[in-house]
Point group: C2
Chain length 332, copies 2
Amino acid sequence: MNRSQHPALIGLDWGTSSLRAYLLGGNGTLIDRRAEGWGIQHLPEGGYAAAFRGVAGEWLDRWPGLPVLAAGMVGSRNGWREVPYVECPADPASIASGLVAFDSGCGTIHLVPGLMQGGPLPDVMRGEEMQIVGVLAMQPALAERSLLVLPGTHCKWAVVERDRVVRFTTYLTGELFAMLRDHSIIGRPAKEMGVTAAGLEFDHEAFTRGVKSAHESGAVGIAPWLFTARSLFLTGVLAAPQTLDYLSGLLIGEEIRSVVAGLADAVCPSIALLGDPTLCNRYRLALSQFGIDDVQALNETGPLGLWRIGEAAGLVAHAPDTMQEDESRGST
Amino acid sequence: MNRSQHPALIGLDWGTSSLRAYLLGGNGTLIDRRAEGWGIQHLPEGGYAAAFRGVAGEWLDRWPGLPVLAAGMVGSRNGWREVPYVECPADPASIASGLVAFDSGCGTIHLVPGLMQGGPLPDVMRGEEMQIVGVLAMQPALAERSLLVLPGTHCKWAVVERDRVVRFTTYLTGELFAMLRDHSIIGRPAKEMGVTAAGLEFDHEAFTRGVKSAHESGAVGIAPWLFTARSLFLTGVLAAPQTLDYLSGLLIGEEIRSVVAGLADAVCPSIALLGDPTLCNRYRLALSQFGIDDVQALNETGPLGLWRIGEAAGLVAHAPDTMQEDESRGST
């Protein structure tokens, strides 16, 4: 944080379960931050307006007229105001052109659109685009060509080429894991022992065993392996707590197996993992089982992404050192 | 039913959610039947013994000393008495040699063991072996070489060769469907419309679309397709009720895709579907999308399977016309 800078933008990362606010200075430098559990499904009394005033009111009182950008589920059908998706391929300029400004009652808020792709494998994202744009702004090599992976309940894999999100795919891996743990016969042994995800120490061997099964399954995939998360327990090979990390390995392994199969014989681009470091570490371990080691982990790229979208929209001024980057981008 | 025959065996199909009792005469002819909702997780007051007397007491009073065979979860760790699994490859004789007899307080009951396979893909079944043995007894061609498919919460695929279950695989397809419908973001639109599985008319087009996606996914599998059960709804391609049949098609399609990939270039054996006709019909439709049409559906093969196991155990006498079949089997 750098409180000596002059604030130029308030950025909001407003998802389903939390609300994060960033006070940004020139070049997207982080000056101050707030976080509350006021996701769009957990709003405080007074709703969206109260939540907004709660995280950003003090900043707005002190620096009236600061532009405000908000990304995430706040712009969804069930959010504060719906923002139409922007089509892929998408870049910071096309995302900026899809901003929707509205009067919040406490100043204008510019809502960032999510991304959509049509075609036979339609898909949508809301919020992740801000993290992706942050990577484009900070890592020119990744902006040129990369696979960006955002693990979570719904893991997104975005194909980036020449500073654009060309296409992306959502994998239900996180949700499948939680469902199988909480609602299926597979999760029962761990549940009966009172093992919860929170209290569980990572079992590297069980996780790796799951990833390996997925890897070695080849074109068959993990369909015939899922039940082994139970049968390996019944046959005494896995202890109850290990079944969960084994299952996690199977599911993350299947996700990677599927992506690798989709590459066919093409060379896998550089991969960057964005988000929760613990979860990113599972993906990094699993990728290495597939022989993929050109992987870096990046954390909190969202604030810079919001800044970059604000720049593209003309809400904040280009700083000299980002202007040069923009000119080179313009020539591609 | 043929009440003119003399009863020779009482067979019980005693699973998690129901208890079915069969009164069988020579050659396994069905003389009478009872069914109650007294699965091992839904026992009446008085427990196992009361349930047993409830379905079979009248028969035992009238024909004292009838042998009783029971298969299914009643022989599991959480059942009336645990019966160790029998290893694959398994045939009626090896299953019969694993019977466990115990005094139920209302006469001796012989519990049928489930099957287990070891190796890298360990698996277990309890109850399905009785249906499979029934097929072996009634269909010599399928007993010689076939793939027997038993759809359900945990769908089993059993490889049969020369009257033996060589190996089998459990697929979680039914449980995955129920979980995704009831507990995931995918099931939400249908749930919000109040659509339940029971009230839903089968949408052939949506189901086929799901199967096709799985089929055409090749080695990639359905990992990147699962989320389309939501995105095709968000983009207006599928209506809320259709998302469930599309999901069903994706999941059953993935199961078949995986099996076919495992066959590599080998010719697919004849397939028989056992069990609930409605569910079997979904599998038949899906198999035909994969170009597999050598498929027949068989229903209620369990009673004959119990009879055949009783024969192999010497609990009932061989009838002349089954003896011949047994002799030919002995020569292989």
